[in-house]
Amino acid sequence: MSTPTLDKHSAALDAAENTASHTIKVTFRIRRFNPEVSEEASWQDFELDIDPKERVLDALHKIKWDQDGTLTFRRSCAHGICGSDAMRINGKNRLACKTLIKDINPQKPITIEAIKGLTVLKDLVVDMEPFFQAYRDVMPFLITKGNEPTRERLQSPEDRERFDDTTKCILCAACTSSCPVFWNDGQYFGPAAIVNAHRFIFDSRDEGGEQRLEILNDKDGVWRCRTTFNCTDACPRGIEVTKAIQEVKRALITRRF
């Protein structure tokens, strides 16, 4: 391959440098709810000239800063790490900060609404408390017996690999709020809690696995999973959520038989 030089401009590079002329008109159709004004939620359209290589979060910022300061949503890191801005974009749960406008067909209005299955407090902000309650209920912390070692707890790379996938969770709730079982019955633990239980159940350093398996063996645990795969599709971290749930089921069955 030839190395790129300054005097040999490609058409794409030219276009990329002409950023000013590179915006397009996009309609964002946002589900608004403000209990201080009305009990009804309603759709509101916002038109924006925006570079399609920008993210949905940038568009929300533009709307909030330039058009309507009352638009309410959560975000913190803006780079897919904090898990604050999971929302339903064109009917699919995604992080606004990881979704490029060009990837979700900006020719048509882009719909944005709060994630489902949790109480909408205002616009895109939901009450995450039941979600975090399920998280707490699986005891997402290291449990050990005996004396603490003086140095770190060693683990082989293979043992670390066993639960690597589920360590990536950022607790955004995209998975749990995409699960039809959770939509209809909030008592179900939901995929995120199971993912975070999996992270410790399969950690060779942890000794609380039995307890966590017992918790997830109960009536609102893993057996309520219907393998819809919505969670796996939704996860912005690419975690194989359904697989993790199945691994917990298998651990429960092999433990019993």
Partner: protein, 157 residues
């Protein structure tokens, strides 16, 4: 009807809610709290899950075999009559086949519907009564079917 015509400032709802008097929010069905769900510490759901897969495998043979015999072989449905049933139930093999199919299909179907009720019914009362109806119907059908298979009299008049 025409499409959505919601204007943000509908004249009627302007004065209804304000900062001190917000509208009620919509809570999700059966929200998790610190106290619910209570743990039961049984393996019921594990066995239920396993039973669905195991009975399903057996039902593939039983049901497909049943459909083949009843609807396809020997001239299809036209042959079915009292004599045909009596002839089959004269053999303990078909008695056991039908008994097994009755029990497995009924328990499998009932447990499947229990799952559906758990998934869809929201109010505790609705859940309870739907399940009671389901269990009653299941017990009745299983017992009646079993009774018929064991007490069948080919010479009935």
């Amino acid at each position: 009807m025409s499409a959505e015509t919601t204007s943000p400032a509908g004249a009627s709802d302007v004065t209804l809610y304000d900062v001190d008097n917000p509208a009620p929010v919509i809570e999700p069905p059966r929200k998790r709290t610190e106290k619910t769900p209570k743990s039961t510490r049984t393996n019921f759901e594990l066995y239920g899950w396993l039973f669905m897969r195991l009975s399903g495998i057996v039902l593939v043979v039983l049901v497909l075999g049943h459909l083949l015999i009843q609807l396809v072989l020997d001239g299809g449905v036209s042959k079915i009559g009292f004599a045909f049933v009596a002839g089959r139930w004269a053999s303990p093999f078909w008695q056991v086949w039908d008994l097994l199919m009755l029990w497995l299909a009924m328990l499998h179907g009932a447990n499947g519907l229990r799952t559906v009720i758990n998934d869809y019914a929201q109010r505790d009362n609705t859940r309870f009564w739907l399940k009671m109806l389901l269990y009653t119907a299941t017990v009745f059908t299983v017992l009646l079917g079993t009774l018929v298979i064991f007490t069948f009299d080919p010479n009935i008049r």
